[in-house]
Symmetry: C2
Subunit: 334 residues, 2 copies
């Protein structure tokens, strides 16, 4: 007695039609309780699993969400970056809770249709884009035609696409103000400066300093994203400074960690000589020593919001953006 490989075989064994088995197994439709019961036990006894692809093909519902990370130019093992890792972990959890799987595809944007090409292949019900990177325009254009899409990132006034992310300007202000409160007077912003998110964080820092009467503003030290490149950048840039800073706003937690390493290489102690604040609130920040003071974007909550919004959009609803309030998490680097 071979195990049934498809629904028809199971139906034959049960002495009913395929339709009945389908109704019994998928829970939809009217089947007598007895028949259902009988079919269920038989299926589980024989280890029968319906083919999800065939089901998907019929119902046009994959129960899968794709996560895409646009890798602008920076194509070196992006998916291993702590930020993306953390995000994919939270998203996988959030989606699993809602009955969806997460499909990770590494996509290097080749043309203006990379998102549509991906979704048109029919493997996902919706798509989550992590970071706008240098693809803001493409994302925006795509959002006019394709709706089940939610983007992690910043929000600009005229934006059409649905995004979830922290208020980066407010977060930047929070960070700078915290350093001021801690007595810092020579404040540096270190990290990437381009893209909607980083740009807004830097603006926030500028604004906070201006409000506090620091007319000179922060010293801006542009660096790469990738951790070891950021370390090299930080070392070179900080050594080059006329006056050593006493407070550094790093553009991200990963950057902050690289900065702290660079400072330690240079013989400075954190927070005694220099205070450093990160941005993101990665769980990782809690693990490092000294534990990292940071602006928490509440990534876990953000992942949940993205999942919720996406599901609503998949159901045809229109949704607005969600702005997460950044919160200061004061640990031991400031």
């Amino acid at each position: 007695m071979n195990n049934p490989t498809n629904l028809k075989q199971l139906a034959d064994m049960a002495g009913v039609s395929a339709g009945t088995v389908s109704r019994a197994l998928s829970g939809s439709g009217r089947v007598s309780a007895r028949t259902r019961e009988r079919i269920m036990t038989l299926a589980s006894k024989l280890g029968y699993q319906p083919n999800l692809l065939a089901r998907t093909m019929r119902t046009r519902k994959t129960n899968t969400v794709g996560m895409l990370v646009p890798m602008g130019h920076d194509d070196l093992q992006h998916l291993s970056d702590p930020f993306f890792n953390t995000m994919s972990g939270f998203l996988a959890d959030a989606l699993a809770d809602r009955g969806y799987d997460l499909l990770l595809s590494r996509i290097i944007p080749a043309d203006e249709r990379w998102i549509e090409n991906y979704v048109n292949s029919g493997r996902v019900d919706g798509v989550l884009i992590i970071g706008q990177s240098n693809q803001f325009a493409v994302i925006e254009a795509t959002s006019l035609r394709y709706h089940p899409m939610v983007v992690w990132g910043g929000k600009v006034p005229s934006q059409n696409h649905c995004s979830v992310g922290s208020d980066n300007r407010a977060g930047g202000m929070l960070a700078a103000r915290h350093l001021l409160d801690r007595g810092c007077r020579q404040i540096v912003y270190l990290g990437p400066v381009e893209g909607p998110e980083f740009g807004a964080r830097l603006d926030g820092v500028r604004q906070a300093l201006a409000l506090a009467g620091h007319l000179a503003g922060p010293v801006v030290l542009p660096s790469h994203c990738e951790p070891s490149a950021a370390y090299d950048d930080a070392l070179a840039l900080l050594r080059n400074l006329d006056r050593q800073p006493d407070g550094i706003v790093a553009a991200s937690d990963v950057t902050a960690i690289s900065v702290i390493r660079a400072l330690s290489t240079m013989g400075y102690s954190v927070p005694r000589d220099v205070k450093v604040i990160g941005y993101d609130g990665l769980p990782l920040g809690e693990l490092v020593s000294p534990p990292l003071t940071t602006i928490d974007q509440q990534l876990q909550r953000g992942a949940g919001l993205m999942a919720d919004l996406l599901l609503r959009r998949m159901a045809g609803e229109q949704t607005g953006c969600q702005l997460i309030d950044p919160v200061l998490v004061c640990r031991e680097t400031t």
Copy 2:
């Protein structure tokens, strides 16, 4: 002029049959160069993407690999753990390089058939299991019937399933010997002790100490996996010790980081007062300060090996296990 949503529509527009379009687009089969060219340009102009699900259904090939993490009892946000994150990042990269996508499904083993139920649903060509956890027996039994499966984890002599992982005993020895070389005399093993992997690491530590004439062996302090639980455990266990250790072998990098935090809370300095060595070689270890001395399992290489072995098994080949040589990476915690 609407964009074609399926192959038939495109065929009509091109004035050929569906079969011809299929042959042209999938590259297989004989089509005249001119026809192919014409169809390709038309398809790309109209933004047509073949439905991958339908193709999969016909060819029985999904070009997708599933990654499963058995969560024994410990079901709290496992996917956000740095180890799994790192692994999934490397695997996604390795698989992408080979033309495959990675499907992340959170599975909580319910019965002895959880793996088979997953693969029988037809969404993946093969499966990667991360960690044997308490599911060694299930994995072993499944491997008798289902072959496209590769497991990250340890290897025991009689094992049937294909695994990739470091030689945990050798790694444990390496770690302990390094601490001895550094002058440590009071050596503690801290971390989980159960499961094939952790058990072997601990054995290695024991063996190294015995070989060096330390008859008493290491003090064994069993702790949880999850970072903050591990921190609590470490604090409690270390405070309870009669004699403070001067060297700690942590069962993993994540554990090592928690241990270092605990030591710092207790007022000890690493590596001055106590030396700590981790296990895994997570990129994260390089980022923390002080940078972590660890036994590197070469996860990136391991992910590549897993991908290669899985692809060969998917092609019907039989493959043996791969044991990765653990290498000592000496940074600044020892």
